[in-house]
Symmetry: C2
């Protein structure tokens, strides 16, 4: 490969940003090349602009020398690619220094942020101001970028769980360095820019999510008002086949707005992975964790084959009525429906023994499972779920967890299904058999992301330090993706290694390529990210 263009680009980036913001030493690059699965992709440099103007200038330099760049916000896209670019040879454009919260409105419930702003940062910002607004948080890590997650269409647990759907007014640097703002934000004077999504004329927000059409350098995120009363609910189902009945029981409540947030239902493997590492002793070191052993463990640890959680938000009377409806709906399909609020949680933590005696509910044991999820349902970021990336490691997760550095193996597969029991059952059965057959544990959660949608998240956890495991896990993930697709279940999000499977050669993929050719004729922005490289000339050439 001819290094001259890269060298010239690096020289210009250095002139622009200063020596300390253009990293080329081996240690930094090797760290960035590591994710929770292997790619072999090399990263020749990391460039760190601190402003929109610098991002624009960086892209102009990239175009001048035709050197591809790959933007990351916090780079914590674990299980889908971490910081690793979708193609080898891309210079990382690290937006982490752009970490300003540029606007905030308590009455209208929104905040406007740059890509480096993390979940923890926004949470602290709201606390500092005694704000009565709640953010929505994913379980990924407090240090995840808000914009990064929204652009990947990630989700959390409150009524504002669909992050992309609760954002607007993007500032986007196009591949050629020009800047646009979406919705009404295109007009400098528009009061409605941070509150109304569609603007006037075509709405372009969707173009910039899961794509390589531009870099979002600013975004308004809507925040929910703190409810008068909050109550979490938990339930179980002892039978693996019971998921179907539960989904069908809950759908009407999700559809009619009684349940306003995602209800999250995790199987036994997923719950175990959330509270412990692989039971090496109980299994004598044998993998995978077989269904009978799993059944034994879940009986000991008191959780079900499926374990539901969600929350009710409103006035006391609204929550009371929702509780009544939830009880009625789950009668017969779920067991041990329990409700938890702040007062009960405080009491329980202090008097867990007494509580167990008076309620018959073994709370001290259960609290370990419930507490991190409880906080998430109130929009409190936590790094607790991150520990599950150490599932198959032989050593305990360290205090400063970093699955990339610690060679944790993780691949996600995230099919979407209609919110119906039959679909939930089919996905669970297919996944469980297939993943076990490949020698891994089928960790599954099913989330009622919207009224009509079940988002199934399957994680394949392994140890990257064991030779051959990466290839085995990828084979498992790829077969799973393919089998799910064949059965009509397509993923809502893809890892950098499987994005090419998105394009089925049809007219839709062709349109994406035509748009890519229009917006990024030199192909310098995140090549391979969701949109394949052009298979033929752009539409203009056809004419």
């Amino acid at each position: 490969m001819d290094d001259f263009p890269l060298e010239m680009a690096l020289r210009e980036w250095t002139d622009l940003l200063g020596l300390e913001q253009v990293l080329t030493e081996k240690l930094s690059l090797e760290a960035a090349e590591r994710g929770t699965f292997g790619t072999g992709h090399s990263i020749p440099a990391i460039v760190r602009p601190s402003s929109r103007q610098e991002v624009q200038d960086c892209l102009r330099i990239a175009n001048r020398w035709k050197v591809p760049v790959y933007p990351i916000s916090s780079g914590r896209n674990w299980g889908y690619g971490s910081r690793m670019p979708a193609a080898s040879g891309c210079v990382l454009l690290d937006l982490g220094r752009m970490d300003r919260i540029v606007d905030f409105n308590e009455g209208l419930g929104y905040v406007t942020v740059e890509p480096g702003v993390t979940q923890a940062q926004l949470y602290a910002f709201l606390k500092d101001r005694d704000s009565k607004l709640w953010m929505d948080a994913t379980g990924a890590s407090p240090h995840c970028s808000l914009i990064g997650n929204a652009m990947e269409r990630g989700f959390g647990h409150t009524p504002y769980g669909d992050h992309f759907a609760h954002s607007c007014g993007y500032e986007v640097v196009l591949p050629d360095g020009t800047v646009i703002e979406t919705g009404f934000a295109r007009y400098a004077s528009a009061h409605a820019a941070p509150v109304y999504r569609w603007g006037v004329g075509p709405s372009l927000d969707g173009l910039f999510s899961q794509s390589n059409f531009g870099i979002v350098t600013r975004m308004t995120i809507w925040l929910m008002p703190e409810p008068e009363y909050f109550q979490a609910y938990y339930f179980r189902c002892e039978d693996a086949a019971g998921i179907s009945a539960i989904v069908d029981a809950l759908r009407p409540l999700r559809m009619n707005g009684t349940i306003r947030s995602a209800c999250h239902i995790a199987n036994d493997y997923k719950v175990l992975g959330g509270i412990e590492q692989y039971p090496w002793e109980a299994t004598g070191g044998k993998t995978p964790l077989s269904a009978p052993v799993m059944a034994k463990l879940r009986q000991e640890r008191k959780f079900g084959a499926w374990n539901g959680s969600g929350a009710l938000y409103g006035t006391r009377a609204q929550v009371k009525e929702a509780r009544r409806l939830l009880r009625a709906a789950l009668k017969g399909s779920a067991t041990r429906l329990q409700f938890l609020d702040d007062r009960r949680l405080r009491l329980a933590s202090v008097f867990s023994k007494f509580y167990e005696w008076s309620s018959g509910w073994n709370l001290s044991r259960t609290l370990a499972i419930l507490k991190p999820v409880y906080g998430l349902m109130k929009g409190i970021p936590t790094d607790r779920p991150l520990a599950s990336t150490y599932w198959r490691k032989r050593t305990a997760p360290p205090t400063d967890m970093n699955p990339d550095r610690d060679r944790c193996g993780l691949l996600w597969c995230s099919p979407i299904a209609p919110n119906q029991g039959a679909h939930a059952g089919e996905i669970a059965a297919l996944t469980t058999a297939l993943v076990l057959r490949h020698g891994f544990e089928p960790m599954i959660s099913m989330t009622m992301l919207t009224e009509r949608t079940l988002s199934c998240i399957i994680s394949i956890g392994y140890d990257l330090e064991i030779a051959g495991e990466d290839a085995r896990a990828k084979a498992c993930c790829e077969e799973l993706l393919q089998r799910l697709r064949e059965n009509g279940y397509h993923s809502y999000r893809l890892g950098i290694g499987t994005m090419s499977a998105m394009d089925d050669g049809g007219s839709y993929g062709q349109l994406l390529q035509d748009l890519k050719q229009t917006l990024d004729p030199n192909g310098i922005l995140a090549p391979g990210r969701y949109i394949s490289s052009p298979r033929k000339a752009a539409a203009t050439a056809k004419a």
Copy 2:
């Protein structure tokens, strides 16, 4: 103008569709050239395909001869352009024959329709099946196209009021005749195609709303489950300045989900226009209707300076709690808060005299105002609001109302503001003074379209048969649009005469033009519709 390409195209369209589907006689064309304001645009022909394949073929012919076409669904975009194309010389592509309901799912709450399917048709379809699903309806007309309205981002009155936001899985014929399907619908097998909007990779739905990038020939529309209990609420405010306090009182309830649907607040002029024609006698034929005369009329007819309506949806207990919260919120800012449900409405209709005596509420008079809105809040299409287009006519609306044919003058102006009292007050004051000064009545409604958004709809009603009125009304509308823009209030939707005002010469407009050039290099699809004609070569030429 050289007629040869048009003649050739007409010949090919005729070969394709048959003689009876290519209209060129004067009467049909003249009828189509008429809207609720004048354009002078000529329509050389009307072409009526009956299937997606025919739409594709029609567009290929249009490209071959470079003859521009302008698609309409039902053509009832009254006040924004009716059937009239945004540019002169476009052949109308009338999609009204494509009127199939192609999919329906009671459990998941959706219906998939073609562009010719009307509100009335869907309503009848649901009734026929004893469906427990409710559609959302606009007040425009039962014969409005569902797709047409959703693509214009129109709205109705139920929790599913934002039509564009409650649709997915578009089948789109691109200008060159190729077909794509959006979201997961791009994959033939995807179960989630009708339920999950974003799909995987960039989401393109927004590209096709308020644009000229493609023709939507199929769409899935979500339907809400019928609630256990429904109750409408109405309130008033006697003071024109009181709108601010009302908006601020209701915002918290809209933000926290207690009010799940749009709350609609109309001023006195709007209410009067909804129930009567211009009071020619009371004013001695003088226009506009002055504020003092308006005040007198509203006292006689018992409505307020502002008149709110909305509805509560849920179980009886949910509605009861919402009612309590609404009462508490409006205390001090609104008067005569009244609740109405099916039982009360039936009783009231039968025993209105007795009811008046027992409740003190003059129901018989009020019912005339309330009933059409009541039905709309349950998603029942009505043509009652259409009568208001005859406001300034000297004769009564006929049974078969048709504002285009009957030369009713109507221009809409629809600014969006943050859902805050100060903004509502500013828009109301500015609009009232400006419109009266131009000699028309300031008919204003403010709708809490989303948690954070106030959608203000201002209608300027006039009589197209009076010489000079069209020009005067347009001057009023243009000045109003401009003054609102200057004050930071941009419209969510534009009429074909004012679309060019959208482009402020910035990078956003340039991007739209680049996309147009990519998708429609011959510029044959709906030229001038929201996207201006290219001001320079496409991005690819820049590179």
